[in-house]
Symmetry: C2
Subunit: 225 residues, 2 copies
Amino acid sequence: MSKKTTIALLSGGLDSATAAAIALEAGQNVIGLSFDYGQRHRKELIAANELASFLNLNEHLKLNVNLAAWGGSSLTDLEQSIPNKGVGDGIPNTYVPGRNTVFIALGLSLAETRGATQIVLGINSMDYSGYPDCRPDYLAAYQALANLSSKAGREGHGAQLWAPLMKWNKVQIVKEAIRLKIPIEKTWSCYSGQNQACGICDSCRIRDAALIKVGRSDLCSTNCI
Amino acid sequence: MSKKTTIALLSGGLDSATAAAIALEAGQNVIGLSFDYGQRHRKELIAANELASFLNLNEHLKLNVNLAAWGGSSLTDLEQSIPNKGVGDGIPNTYVPGRNTVFIALGLSLAETRGATQIVLGINSMDYSGYPDCRPDYLAAYQALANLSSKAGREGHGAQLWAPLMKWNKVQIVKEAIRLKIPIEKTWSCYSGQNQACGICDSCRIRDAALIKVGRSDLCSTNCI
């Protein structure tokens, strides 16, 4: 029986690389898909390239979809500052309106074209519970839409959205990444848009706290390139 | 009270121009949004510009999102032929996998950023009943997703998807377009990708049949530029 094909949305960060590696370990043919959406930390796309190469993906596609055309987030609007005082209540300004909805839609388009049966996502609801589009009910609603959006979906064999990290916290994700031998030093999490990781944005803080907890402070963001 | 803002997905064709005009007639502030998705009939974008200008939209944004990167449709893959033998059963190869899901997702992103309360769409289920993503159940599922995808949605005041033409056939749409004084000669429907409308692709046939039925054969595709 031929391998099933999975589309992996690959940001260049730790979570999506771990999700892609989980799909590979399950014996699937994985196609990577990355987006230049006008993010200030566009450097993550270099990391996505390196990770796709390290994971030996059959294919890695990159698409421009310039959400910075209308901004609405500190990641896509350079006039907004990246928060660096720790994660608070509510939705942080790093939330990009509609980003996951757009990226998953593009994943569904590619999946339908290539006959892929899954889209594997790095989203998880624990760390960023403030993001409305990282929650289980959001993903369930998207699956219901996907099931109606294509011929295959309506026939009961459309692409399934798969978020293996959904209920994990960052420590669990880091442990899984280490088990899967992901080169964590090649992943890029920093939001700051600098050439070196800042170590103080929410994304660096959450990553580094988890790495310190598992005894791998050598992999903390400011120690990596 | 200030006007409500509506995002109008504007392809350059007759249907979306009519939908946008309906939103304008309802007294809304309309922002047009058009996509260069690598469609062979990219000429429709010139029509979208002219229509946005004619309708006097406050703003008209254009975004590149190159679905031709993976093709899967005769509209985005030049190696596939456009059907010209009339509409048959099943899904025609002009169906673009995931296109509406991607476009509506981008509309939701813009709506959330601008605080728009509606997204007006030209989709209708009568002519293209073969397209899975032009049906009422698809749109209802998308609304359920939209309600969970943003903070405003979760609070009950997110953007509403509005498809005023959903149950109309092309004759009804043409009549409404004439009533709204849309310059039908400026709309572009042809799929062929030529500089002149072909008159024989499904899109030209359906449009022209309706125009002939309402006694306006002077507006048939091959008579327009």
